[in-house]
């Protein structure tokens, strides 16, 4: 540390220049794209002081105790008498002893302090980031927040990210900005989040989802996971078309604009280090019921089929087994698994009549997973600047460990980010930026074809499934698989190099050129092998000890892909103010991009040595493609665009912005490659009008703004515009013992197909009250996707192909967003900060060709996400039935849903006969005729909200953040949500409240088999068992303490903070089954989604950390 401190004093200039040159011209070196635009130039010229009475001295620091360099201290009434704080924040100023000083610095609140004869005044500047002078990063530039006319939300990085044990920026953004919806398909280390802005669907034809474009330093990155949260300086969310359209077609769904930290001119070199140690524990998990309870449940279900036994993979249950499980539970139920030891024939299982019966009860989740999985995170950065050069270098390291007790999964991430900007001439700046991220996700080889993770299997089988060894050998199970598995790793390397320059040929004109090269290389290596176990698929497992997965899994697979892009941007900005009132800002430019993607897959079976799983050391069959997947691909893409923007404001009162972008994309055919997308926005700062003076100071700012814009969506299904022919190696026609290859018929495309257009109309109101302490922002918007690629009008079969898509469909999302904030510093030093957000959106199909209007398909007027189902009346009771089992007269017949053994009886679900026709039906499942079906819910979050409370007092800071979803419904599927979905598999503790003659008031119906159906018999989609996924969750609580400046000085620290933090600490929800409220219906694991509620758990995290600056 001391060496660096030394350097800044003596040879900082040379050091920095050398560093800059090294970066610019070495292969690693590179720069920051636009940071220079808003880097603060702090070298004002201040004239000498006038007549003096005293010499006032002092230090200017920020709320963290960090010295503020370049703050201006002037005498009130004599603006020419002033000083600038130096590198240590010190200043001295000659003035009259009764004077008042004004201390100001960009980004901080201006302060007036009466000198009152004091000789020393130490000033603590208050952060102004929320307030009006705030500068917001927008597309290709910055804009004063007050002058914004588009819907741009600026995220307070410090609050949202800095002190939280966040490993993924996306998770930190959840609930932060109204309109931004972040969901996570599954828990687990390194899992990607899904990001949506203003609506979940957007377009029915967008293939890669309608996620916002993520730009880091003005250039797209493939995933937010690649960004080290610690490197982030600012985040802006461009929500409406008028703000986003400058980025062109891929900005159709909004933009998340991230800038990374840079050094500041004339800043001393600063070294920062922070760490975080965290422990994760599952939020909620389902639990198997005990072996005995499960067996009873099974037998009740079997009885309805007229059976008195259950047979499943390797295990059997009959009435004797039920009794034996009861005995086992009474005798051994209190013993731990280690006391019980190995499986004992006779005690824990037995073989009767050639069938195997298991009695011993396990709790696989508790026995094989850790309660707390550790995680650690370290960040180191060096930043600084001379009068010509600024730089920032940062390193990050993250290590997360999964929850399995052995052979645990592990996620590691390494980040490197550096940028250097240097002034070569007064009019010429050069910058370079290098970003490198490597992540490595390592886990045990997934034997079951990688389809499911271990959680599904741990929770799939009943508690009596044997997890202990017998005679030293294991039974086949998820645990055995993991124990014996080799590893599989998924590695991702992202490198991005940027070189840029800025020219200022004349005053107020800057011209920027940037070239960025980035490459994302993903590698997956899966090391298979063998698993030796008693095969639970055999009638008598203990006689079938073998390598259960056979040759197909005794393999190595390697899959790799890269995405390489070249991006060139050039743009010029010109500012002009005429007569001090008319402010013009013009920006125009050009960008071009090429992107190439290539992927391939190799597999070889027959490992020579299981310990050396390498393709070079395997001797069996080899494969380069897996059926039905497209692991081998090669494609490229190019886009270009001209863009321009004109800002005009009159006295910062009437604001106008006009954008246009002329976009070209290689995704479109010749003649349709280019399209013009205009947008405009305007604002009126009513509070600046003279007639509004009466409202001051209560109303400090009032702005009304509106915007309209349209952006083309180029993310349409691949080759939508090109007639291509599928190639298959197998025609099913064999010659010479091989299938001949064949080429399919050319795809049918409509000759009239063209771009989709996404148009957003947005009205906003921004207001601040009480000296800017309280702010309200409201946005109403309508986003309409027109010309949506959707089926054309039905054609007769004589056409001979499915109807090609045309530009017909239209989808509309209407939304409302509200943000509130309040901050106040009490006289006693207590700082209070409150924030709240609220957003709501509803998406509808307003045009769609579908003559039949089947309620489960897309049709005009459909509200996206709607769930159709029956209204549940109650459970049938005995007196609803006659002695012969037939339903009493007057009760609506449900015979439509009866089949095979299943007839409705006491304890089954009674649906409401909404149309009163005496029977429960679905009509023809169409909008006109849907029988007793009605809309019972919606899978999309209807409204989302969040609030946070922050408190600071004398170095202590406390903050808490709550996020919630007001309404979301889900029809759960699989065994967790549907009791008896597969009655020969596990029944769960939460399902034990089922109907029996002694428990007629139960929540769940009488046990019966639903035979793999999640929408039938007792569990037709209905109101009673619909999952209410609304929640309010405490996302974060943090308590921190910053060491006082006086203490820091002695230890030569600039700042030091320690904190404890908790994520997802608790929540309020109303879900009838024990799953995390953020669970989505994403079909993780398999296409049917049976693993619902049984995939990698979501976590609660507690952590502590240290942040120090030298």
């Amino acid at each position: 540390m001391s060496t660096i401190q030394l350097s800044r004093g003596t040879f900082s200039k040379k050091f920095l220049t050398a560093l800059a040159v090294a970066f610019l011209f070495s292969a690693v070196g590179s720069t920051k794209a636009i940071a220079g635009v808003w880097a603060v130039n702090a070298t004002h010229g201040i004239s000498e002081s006038q007549q003096q009475t005293i010499i006032l001295k002092g230090t200017v620091t920020d709320s963290n105790g960090e010295s503020v360099i370049g703050a201006s201290i002037t005498e009130k009434g004599s603006p020419k008498n002033g000083a600038i704080s130096d590198i240590d924040g010190h200043f001295s100023l000659k003035l009259k002893s009764n004077a008042t000083i004004i201390v100001s610095y960009i980004g901080f609140q201006k302060q007036e302090i009466a000198v009152d004869g004091k000789a020393i005044i130490n000033v603590v500047l208050k952060d102004n980031s929320e307030l009006l002078q705030e500068v917001v990063v927008v597309g290709y530039g910055t804009q004063k927040k007050v002058n914004l006319t588009g819907a741009v939300s600026n995220i307070n990085v410090k609050d949202a990210i800095a002190s939280r044990p966040i490993t993924d920026v996306a998770k930190a953004l959840q609930g932060i900005s109204p309109g931004l919806t972040i969901t996570n398909k599954i828990g687990g280390v390194g899992a990607e989040s899904t990001i949506k802005l203003r609506g979940s669907i957007g377009s029915l034809s967008a293939t890669s989802g309608t996620s916002p474009l993520i730009l880091v330093d003005n250039v797209e990155v493939p995933s937010l996971n690649l960004v080290n949260p610690d490197d982030i300086e600012s985040i802006s969310v461009l929500k409406d078309a008028a703000s986003a359209s400058i980025y062109g077609t891929r900005a159709a769904w909004g933009v998340i604009l991230i800038t990374t930290k840079t050094g500041k001119l004339n800043d001393k070199v600063k070294v920062s280090y922070s760490n975080n140690f965290a422990w994760n524990t599952p939020t909620k998990m389902v639990r198997q019921s005990s072996a005995y309870d499960n067996a009873v449940y099974m037998m009740l279900s079997a009885a309805r089929e007229g059976k008195d036994f259950i047979t499943s993979i390797g295990y059997n249950v009959d009435n004797e087994a039920v009794d034996r499980m009861k005995e086992w539970q009474d005798k051994y139920g209190n013993m731990s698994q280690s006391e019980l030891g190995e499986m004992q024939l006779g005690r824990d299982f037995e073989i009767r009549g050639g069938k195997t019966y298991f009695y011993r009860s396990f709790n696989p989740v508790d026995e094989f997973t850790k309660e707390w999985a550790p995680q650690q995170n370290h960040n180191l950065s060096v930043t600084g600047g001379s009068d010509k050069t600024t730089f920032n270098i940062s390193l990050g390291y993250l290590d997360q460990t999964g929850v399995m007790k052995f052979n645990s999964d592990e996620y590691k991430r390494y980040n490197f980010n550096s940028n250097v900007t240097t002034k070569i001439r007064d009019w010429w700046k050069v910058r370079a930026n290098v970003l490198f991220t490597r992540s490595n996700n390592s886990q045990p080889y997934k034997y079951t074809s990688g389809q499911y993770d271990a959680w599904y299997y741990l929770l799939r089988w009943p508690a009596f499934y044997p997890y202990a060894a017998y005679q030293g050998k294991d039974f086949r199970s998820a645990v055995t698989d993991i124990k014996q598995a080799n590893r599989e790793t998924y590695t991702s390397n992202f490198t991005r190099v940027n070189l840029g320059t800025e020219l200022n040929p004349i005053k107020d004109l800057s011209i920027n050129f940037d070239y960025t090269f980035s490459i994302l290389v993903d590698n997956q290596k899966r090391n298979g092998g063998q698993v030796w176990a008693y095969d639970m698929f055999a009638a008598n497992p203990t006689t079938a000890y073998k390598n259960i997965y056979g040759d197909a899994q005794n393999r190595v697979t390697q899959q790799s892909s890269y995405t390489m892009s070249n991006i060139f941007k050039a743009y010029a900005t010109y500012n002009k103010t005429i007569a001090k009132k008319h402010n013009f800002k013009a920006m125009g430019g050009f960008d071009a991009e090429t992107r190439e993607r290539l992927g391939h897959y190799s597999e070889r079976r027959g490992l020579v040595s299981l310990d050396q799983p390498e393709i070079a050391l395997a001797v069996g069959d080899q494969y380069v493609d897996v059926d039905g997947t497209s692991d081998a691909y090669h494609n490229e893409f190019a886009a270009a665009g001209f863009f321009g923007r004109l800002n005009y404001d009159y006295n910062q009162k009437y604001l106008l912005e006009v954008n246009a972008r002329y976009d070209g994309s290689s995704n479109f055919p010749s003649g349709k490659k280019w399209a013009l997308f205009p947008s405009a926005s305007a604002g009126w700062r009513a509070s600046e009008e003279a007639f509004m003076d009466w409202a001051k100071p209560a109303l400090s700012n009032l702005k009304i703004r509106g915007s309209w814009g349209t952006i083309g969506n180029q993310d349409v299904a691949a080759n939508s515009f090109l007639s291509t022919m599928a190639i298959s190696p197998s025609s099913s026609w064999v010659q010479n013992d091989k299938q001949l290859p064949y080429v399919g018929s050319p795809s049918v495309i409509s000759s009239s197909l063209t771009w989709e257009r996404v148009t957003t109309l947005d009205f906003g109101l921004e207001s601040r009250f009480f000296n800017d302490e309280f702010g309200v922002t409201i946005d109403w918007y309508r986003r309409t996707t027109t010309n949506m690629h959707s089926p054309g009008a039905t054609l007769p079969s004589t056409f001979g192909a499915s109807v090609p898509k045309i530009n017909y469909g239209e989808m509309r999302g209407d939304g409302l967003e509200l943000a509130l904030d309040y901050s106040h510093s009490f006289k006693n030093g207590l700082g209070l900060n409150l924030k709240g957000t609220f957003s709501k959106i509803k998406e509808k199909l307003t045009k769609y060709n579908n003559a039949t209007k089947n309620i489960y398909s897309n049709y005009e007027g459909k509200e996206l996400g709607e769930i159709w189902g029956y209204e549940t009346d109650r459970l049938f009771q005995k007196d609803d039935f006659n002695a012969d089992g037939t339903m009493k007269a007057g009760i609506a017949s449900q015979s439509l849903f009866e089949s095979g053994f299943f007839k409705y009886g006491p304890g089954d679900v009674k649906y409401k006969d909404l149309d009163g026709d005496g029977k429960i039906t679905y009509g023809s499942n169409t909008l006109e005729d849907h029988g007793d079906l009605k809309k019972i819910g919606n899978t999309l979050p209807n409204f989302e909200y969040s609030f946070s409370i922050g408190l600071t007092y004398k170095g202590f800071d406390f903050s808490t953040f709550f996020q919630g979803v007001g309404s979301r419904d889900l029809w759960g599927i699989g065994n967790v949500a549907i009791p008896g979905f597969m009655p020969s598999e596990a029944a769960y503790q939460h399902q034990m409240n089922y109907w029996t003659e002694d428990n007629t008031d139960a929540f769940y119906p009488r046990p019966t088999s639903h035979s793999w159906v999640s929408n039938g018999q007792n569990f037709l989609r209905q109101t009673r068992y619909l999952l209410n996924m609304s929640y309010l969750r405490c996302k974060n609580i943090t308590l921190g303490y910053s060491l006082p400046a006086s203490l820091l000085k002695k230890a030569s620290f600039q700042n030091a903070r320690i904190y404890v933090s908790a994520e997802n600490l608790f929540e309020f929800d109303n879900i009838s089954i024990p799953i995390d409220p953020e669970t989505t219906e994403d079909k993780y694991g398999n296409t049917q989604g049976y693993s619902f509620g049984r995939s990698y758990p979501y976590s609660r995290t507690i952590s502590f950390g240290v942040q120090v600056g030298f």
Partner: protein
């Protein structure tokens, strides 16, 4: 400095105006462009995609084919007694993407269009046009066979070409004239060999063979259903000529073994195969044989089928002069002295009865035409991994087409039958089956001097035609062609279980005698109780096995069953369009008769 800047700006503008930059052809998919179609190999690869549609053979995996039973086409005949009847379609379907589909018409027309536009030399171009038109003929003969009148398309229809899309149905004969023109072109221009393996690709011979089949169908349909003699003559002549031309090439001959046609592991060297489908372990396999060796036969040879086999003297079993027939009251008597093809088609060792055998046959007669004993117990013959090759177009059918077309033409006075006609076709098949040859005697056939005159004959049908149809049925049984034969002869009543009592009958079973026989020949004795689930056609313990008792469970036919119904959604679509455009000529109606 400023010059530099303007220089750079200029550079940008030049760069930006470059449209080529935005032209990126797909790297890993093929575009439908002329480069592709100028290459014969590419066309071949495109055509190969049609093979498994038109040459299904035994299909793949567990998919049932029209051979033996399991699809409606295979079941809607008089060959199989059934546990539960496969009914004819009862109602007009709302949608029907399986039958009323023009997907392959489009696909084939596209190939024809692209080949026409290609720069291939004439010979190659005509060959591929021939192949394309051959498949179009196959597709349209399917459509016509099912629906009668259908709209004819000989080009790819664009989605905005309302006039063509909604055009009215063309008369059946118009379409079949076009089919005939396609087939004529195919027979003239398709290469004799296309470099692919013989029997596994479309050749000129295949075009001729299919011409004989398709034109025989249409000729007899015109004669018996449409009662249009002129068209009957035209199509029958075409059928006869195509068969005759193919026979004259002397390229194909009958294989020595009849059974080998349907149970060979490889048909590559079989001289009778014009087209067959090859199956290879681990590459492409089927399950047809498994249905005869692994599963009980819930559809099995009917009494009607078994009775149609002649005795080895060449006489029908019930003809008075037939002294060889030993009666049908015991299986070994019944099969004694019969056409060898009976034993090639059913297991004649004993009756396979439900309750007694795990692998039983509902009629007692266990079909086994597709069984290759050498792989009965190995993976090659079990499960869905069967590897026996499937015959698709065989020379014996061409011979049968020839003689039938000739005989039907003779009936119409358009041809004079001669003994030579029989000797070069019918009698070759008889000889292979070790059956006596026939002699043409006026309007009759004789064997060994005895005029054949089947007392069980359908009196509508002249004896000579009856015997030709019998030979066809016996020779080509379980190959999925009987249903269409019945339709074109206007004889769907044979597949009606009430009108044709023998269809719902199996073997004669004397339960007591059977138990006695069984116990004498097996170590674990059974009682008569084991046979209680077998229903007989009369009271008591002896009678013909009668699989279905209740009349309401029997398949009956109606006139409408000759054609499929046009799905209602299509009819409505045309109606709506007619209303919308105020153009009453837009219609798919009339619906096929009776629907």
């Amino acid at each position: 400095m400023k010059t530099k800047i303007f220089g750079l700006l200029l550079l940008i503008i030049t760069f930006g105006s470059c449209d080529d930059f935005l032209t990126r052809a797909p790297l890993d998919s093929i575009e439908d462009n002329s480069d592709f179609w100028n290459n014969e190999n590419n066309i071949r690869n495109t055509v190969v995609g049609l093979y498994d549609i038109y040459f299904e053979g035994y299909r793949i995996g567990w998919n049932r084919s029209d051979y033996f039973y399991g699809t409606s086409v295979a079941d809607w005949t008089d060959d199989l007694a059934q546990t539960s009847a496969t009914f004819f379609t009862k109602t007009v379907p709302a949608t029907d993407a399986t039958n009323w589909t023009f997907n392959n018409v489009r696909r084939i027309n596209l190939i024809i269009d692209r080949v026409t536009k290609s720069n291939l030399p004439d010979e190659a171009k005509n060959h591929w046009l021939g192949v394309g038109r051959f498949f179009r003929a196959l597709e349209y003969s399917r459509l016509v066979s099912k629906f009668g009148d259908v709209p004819w398309y000989d080009k790819v229809i664009e989605d905005n070409d309302v006039k063509s899309l909604y055009k009215a149905k063309d008369p059946r004969t118009t379409v079949m004239d076009n089919v005939l023109a396609d087939l004529d072109f195919a027979c003239k221009n398709i290469r004799e060999s296309d470099g692919l393996v013989k029997g596994l690709s479309v050749t000129r011979a295949a075009a001729m063979a299919y011409t004989s089949r398709i034109m025989l169908f249409e000729g007899t349909w015109q004669k018996y259903r449409a009662k249009n003699t002129d068209f009957a003559k035209k199509y029958l002549t075409a059928s006869q000529k195509a068969a005759s031309d193919l026979m004259a090439t002397n390229t194909y001959s009958l294989a020595s073994s009849y059974k080998s046609l349907t149970n060979s592991l490889s048909l590559a060297s079989n001289p009778e195969m014009i087209i067959y489908r090859s199956y290879v372990a681990g590459v492409l396999t089927h399950s047809l044989m498994s249905f005869q060796v692994e599963q009980a036969e819930v559809c099995s040879p009917s009494k009607d089928l078994v009775d149609s086999y002649l005795s080895i003297n060449g006489l029908p079993i019930h003809q008075t002069e037939n002294t060889l027939f030993k009666g049908d009251k015991w299986i070994s008597d019944e099969v004694a002295n019969r056409d060898s093809r009976l034993a090639d088609n059913i297991d004649v060792t004993s009756l396979k009865l439900v309750g007694v055998e795990a692998l039983y046959a509902v009629s007692g007669y266990m079909g086994n035409r597709f069984v290759n004993e050498s792989v009965r117990k190995s993976a090659d013959g079990l499960s869905n991994t069967n590897v026996t090759d499937a015959p698709i177009m065989k020379y014996n059918e061409v011979l049968m087409n020839y003689i039938e077309a000739s005989a039907e033409l003779a009936q119409l006075g358009a041809y004079t039958l001669s003994q030579t006609d029989f000797d070069k076709s019918f009698n070759l098949i008889r000889t292979r089956a070790k059956m006596p040859t026939v002699k043409l005697e006026g309007n009759n056939l004789s064997v060994n001097g005895v005029i054949v005159n089947d007392p069980d004959r359908d009196l509508d049908v002249p004896s000579l035609i009856w015997e030709i149809r019998r030979e066809r049925r016996v020779e080509l049984v379980f190959e999925g062609i009987r249903f269409n034969d019945l339709r074109r002869w206007n004889k769907l009543q044979y597949a009606d279980m009430i009108l044709n009592q023998k269809l719902n009958l199996g073997a004669w079973l004397d339960k007591e005698a059977f138990v006695a026989w069984y116990n004498a020949n097996n170590s674990t004795p059974i009682t008569i109780d084991k046979l209680k689930s077998i229903k007989l056609d009369r009271e008591g313990n002896a009678g013909y096995i009668k699989p279905i008792l209740g009349a309401q469970y029997l398949r009956t036919y109606a006139e409408k069953d000759y054609l499929y119904p046009i799905p209602t959604d299509q009819i409505k679509l045309y109606k709506d369009k007619a209303t919308q455009l105020n153009d009453p000529t837009i219609t798919l109606e009339p619906q096929n008769p009776g629907w």
